[in-house]
């Protein structure tokens, strides 16, 4: 049989199949099945695999127990995270503040032992990863929010003061920014005011608080140089 004949025979077979209507349901079922499998796979890829690829994790040098420390100090958060005289905010404490109490180990935890041996004894600063570090182009004034607007630390930082262990530091592999800025929820849902700290979240809170500036000529809203540098 020549190739041409073969093709003709196949075409005839196809015609017969179509005419009888047999096999149509089976093929349609397969198409739907493959579609569902493909759809599910792309969903898993997008919602589970991609975020894992996008964010990388690092462990803090050692775990810090906020709850324990808040119980020991007198002035709450401000005992360690205070304003300097020039109005700037101290942020994560330097070694000098810690050594006021921690010249020698005060407790028996492993983490404190690491701290005293590797950092206090050697006079090295602890290379903490900052969860809340904003991008370089952002100017954030703690004084304006904490002193000026009398806001609570919890509004932006959540209940970090009650944490007993340091959670892993997650950062975006592309931008290098902490995951706390974009938020944990990959779909962008937000339940608490501290869930994320993007520019839209700043704007939302300013709007809710009724802070309406009209100093910008371009937008009739807040001028860019208020929060940018």
């Amino acid at each position: 049989m020549s190739t041409l004949d073969k093709k003709a025979k196949e075409a005839m077979d196809d015609d017969t199949a179509h005419a009888s209507g047999g096999g149509d349901n089976g093929a349609g079922g397969f198409i739907i099945l493959f579609f569902i499998i493909g759809f599910a796979a792309s969903m898993v890829l997008g919602w589970v695999v991609f975020p894992k690829l996008l964010y990388s994790q690092k462990q803090q040098p050692f775990s810090f127990n906020h709850a324990l420390h808040v119980g020991e100090v007198d002035e709450g958060c401000e005992s360690c995270h205070f304003f300097r005289e020039d109005g700037s905010f101290s942020g994560i404490p330097k070694l000098a503040q810690c050594t006021d109490c921690h010249e020698e180990p005060m407790g028996e935890t492993e983490d404190e032992a690491i701290f005293v041996e590797q950092y206090v004894a050697k006079e090295r600063e602890v290379p903490w990863f900052s969860y809340s570090r904003q991008p370089d182009c952002v100017f954030f004034s703690h004084a304006a929010h904490v002193v000026g607007a009398k806001m609570d630390c919890v509004a932006c930082h959540g209940h970090i003061g009650e944490s007993e262990r340091s959670r892993p530091y997650e950062y975006n592999r592309l931008t290098g920014y902490s995951r706390d800025i974009w938020g944990k929820n990959i779909a962008g849902f937000k339940n608490n005011s501290w869930d994320r700290m993007k520019m839209d979240d700043c704007a939302q809170c300013h709007k809710e608080a009724g802070i309406i500036h009209t100093s910008s000529v371009q937008t009739q809203r807040d001028a860019c140089f208020v929060c940018h540098k």
């Binding site: 304003f83 020039d86 109005g87 700037s88 991008p135 370089d136 182009c137 100017f139 004034s141 703690h142 004084a143 304006a144 002193v147 000026g148 607007a149 806001m151 809710e208 608080a209 009724g210 802070i211 309406i212 500036h213 009209t214 100093s215 910008s216 000529v217 371009q218 937008t219 001028a223 860019c224 140089f225 208020v226 940018h228 540098k229």
Partner: protein, 275 residues
């Protein structure tokens, strides 16, 4: 959390530069570059790529010895107010990357918003804006000396003098802590002002009669903010850009050099608003 905003009188930060005091030493340029993390190139003499937020120009009266005379003119961003904040660059920016603040009178530039079309550079009559043709390259270890208060720019965006706005932001922190309402004159000064050994640059709020710059310039708000000081002039004043950098000189030829005057025209005229 609801609270009222204190609507204080708007400020108009500006400068008075005494050209008769300026010696052209360049300390203001150096201080500016160090303060604002301005990148430099291997060959800074190539003015097509070099970036100078503050730049000193040398003017001369074009006469032969012994009548020859020179004048050095420092040129920061002039922070034009135009009419109602519509400065040339702000009006043309398609990205809202540059903006005029009615609160401080400062023309801002947000590098992360800028996409580098350079329309603003074409619009600026003072060549105060610069384009980053290359990513900044700092000599080994020098990145540790960069100021954390000013963000560094990348290739492909426009940058310019900000009147050291970060210093205003930091001064505001102190104001909040002290419970005051306004930033004191001494707490917000630009780097070039402080660096000038001749004291030729005076910086402050042009709207505040207590500030030295107001007392020198005596701006006439009825007449397009033209200075009442006969020594003062602004660059290309008749364009109506309503700049906030005033220059002072006793020399008539210097004041004439501030604009394109025809032979029969007198200095010290200002255009009326077109609209």
């Amino acid at each position: 959390m609801k609270h009222e905003q204190n609507h204080t009188t708007p400020m108009r930060y500006g400068m008075a530069i005494d050209l008769d005091k300026c010696t052209g030493c360049g300390a203001c340029m150096t201080a500016c570059m160090a303060e604002n993390n301005v990148p430099f190139k291997e060959d800074e003499s190539d003015k097509l790529v070099s970036i100078t937020w503050m730049r000193i120009f040398e003017l001369n009266n074009g006469k032969a010895f012994p009548d020859t005379d020179i004048c050095y003119l420092p040129r920061p961003c002039q922070h034009c107010e135009g009419h109602g904040g519509h400065s040339p660059c702000v009006s043309v920016c398609p990205a809202t990357a540059t903006d005029y603040s009615q609160e401080t009178g400062i023309v801002s530039q947000i590098y992360t918003r800028c996409f580098g079309c350079r329309y603003c550079m074409g619009a600026c009559p003072y060549h105060a804006r610069y384009f980053n043709w290359w990513d900044p390259v700092w000599p080994d270890g020098m990145e540790k000396y960069l100021s954390p208060n000013v963000s560094v720019r990348m290739r492909g965006v426009v940058e310019k003098c900000s009147f050291c706005f970060h210093r205003y932001q930091l001064a505001k922190n102190q104001v909040y802590l002290d419970g005051e309402r306004k930033v004191p004159e001494a707490d917000y000064q630009t780097a070039c002002t402080q660096a000038c050994p001749a004291g030729a640059i005076v910086f402050g709020d042009l709207n505040n009669p207590e500030h030295q710059v107001h007392q020198i310039v005596k701006p006439d708000s009825e007449n397009g903010n033209k200075s009442r000081n006969p020594r003062a002039f602004r660059l290309l004043e008749r364009l109506g850009t309503n700049t906030k950098v005033y220059y002072l000189s006793n020399r008539e030829w210097v004041r004439r050099a501030g604009d394109n005057y025809l032979a029969h025209e007198k200095t010290g005229q200002v255009s009326k608003p077109h609209h």
